[in-house]
Amino acid sequence: MTDDLRELYQDIILDHGRRPRNFRPIEHATHTAQGYNPLCGDRVTVFLTLDGDRITDVSFQGRGCAISTAAASLMTEVLKGKSVEEARELFAHFHARVTGGEDKPLPEPLAEEMERLEPLTGVKAYPARVKCATLSWHALEAALKGGGDAPVKTE
């Protein structure tokens, strides 16, 4: 395999792509939303349980490529126990990292979580694949906003 492919498909991504974590519905989720990528037909549903301002449980279901599946899986891992505000901060930072935008320094505990998402930032070199990495995060944002019936689209 060529080295730049390895940069995109790091072991952690291949692993989460094959065996996604928190890949289940939450029966009594307080928040849920769907994400849809019209380009490839990928769909993801994000489930959240909030206790006040705190994310006590988060999961996802759907079908997608290795990047979008791994991105959703890693997202659920870093979000558990975070506040809504922290989740939004992480998304803003992650979004900036994968699109090549400007990112502000994160406070220490969040910076550590961000490091876990770092393997996904390889998509920056693949403009057509950035949406795969952000689909579940867009769905998360929609869920936090109160969802709605229409799935949130990546474009």
Binding site: T2, D4, L5, Y9, G17, R18, C40, G41, D42, C132
Partner: protein
Amino acid sequence: MTTASPRIVDPASDRLPGGFDPRRLRTEFPIFANNPGLVFLDSGASAQKPASVIDQIADYYRTDYANVHRGVYHLSARSTELFEAARVKAQRFLNAADPREIVFVRGATEAINLVAQSWGAAFLEAGDEVLISELEHHSNIVPWQLLRDRLGFRLVVAPIDATGGLDLAAFAAHLSPRTRLVAITHLANATGALVPVETVVELAHRVGARVLVDGCQAAPRLDVDVQALGCDFYVFSGHKTYGPTGIGVLWGRHELLAAMPPWQGGGEMILNVTFEKTVYQEPPHRFEAGTPDISGAIGLGTALDFIESLGRANILEHEEALTGYGVDRLSRIEGLRLVGAGQRRLGILSFDLEGVHPHDLATVLDRHHVAVRAGHHCAQPLLEKLGYPATTRASLGVYNDEADIDKLAAAIEAAREMFT
């Protein structure tokens, strides 16, 4: 103006199926010199352009350019001559009876929308039926839905059979005296399934329905003869037939075009304008409002010359042989399933690789310099029916050879190893 010269085939050379040599042909396409190692297997989305087409467009702007159909001066007359000569080339390409049956449009999508908005709006009403098939590209579905929502006719869909080809018995059963139009693909873009258009036309005409054929994928591969097919409208895009983007052809029987109201209003399409009343041009100019894509039409004419110079029977033989080789080669890859294309598959290999998403596969193939399309190929209802959210599609052109298929197969194997 550059004219295509006949190709001399050296009998001693290592000739490939089809009677011509794709490896030598590749040298006529500058994209390959500028992208060494490129294995281009996405001609179904858009074909690459031979130097003759690229040069023709530049030459035209450099030496013959002026607006058409209005200048009294010599240059405009010359430009008009070239533009109308391209129309005659399109006529011959489709074996149409008359160049006035050729309407230049932006592409097949615009051609279908033109027929829907002009012929459809004038002659369809509530209670009528328009019959399409499950094999259609979105561009042969959505224009009819838009019109249906306005007029209230029924849009009926003929299904595919278990092999992925058009179910002819079901198609016949969906025809009725209410069917006013059959709009159907000649060659399904998502799967490569060839539709027996002659039979479709015969069945449709029996109930008095008109037939529009979407020839986007067929035009670059088959020797299309609209008179032999017997259809009423035929559309194709220039950019898939080795021509420029932004140009395409609507062919319609003259008596049908002559009875159709204008579609867009503007210059070029009128005979006389007063604020009270406007008298329209005869076809085809009635349907070509505004300054047309003159260089596009001329470039398309050169692309059609290119195809004719290769020999359309040779192209078909080449594509059939390479399709067969591709089916054989890809079928041997573990976990790979070719998407069914009925009794006859041509030029397009759509497939699913177990455990590997098409987008991941396409990314890996790209890193091996193999360009393919991944996704729903603008045929979501068909893929839904076939049970795939998305597939990977390799589509062939005159410049592809068996080595390209081998490189595709090797890259697929590499991806399989990586993801499973």
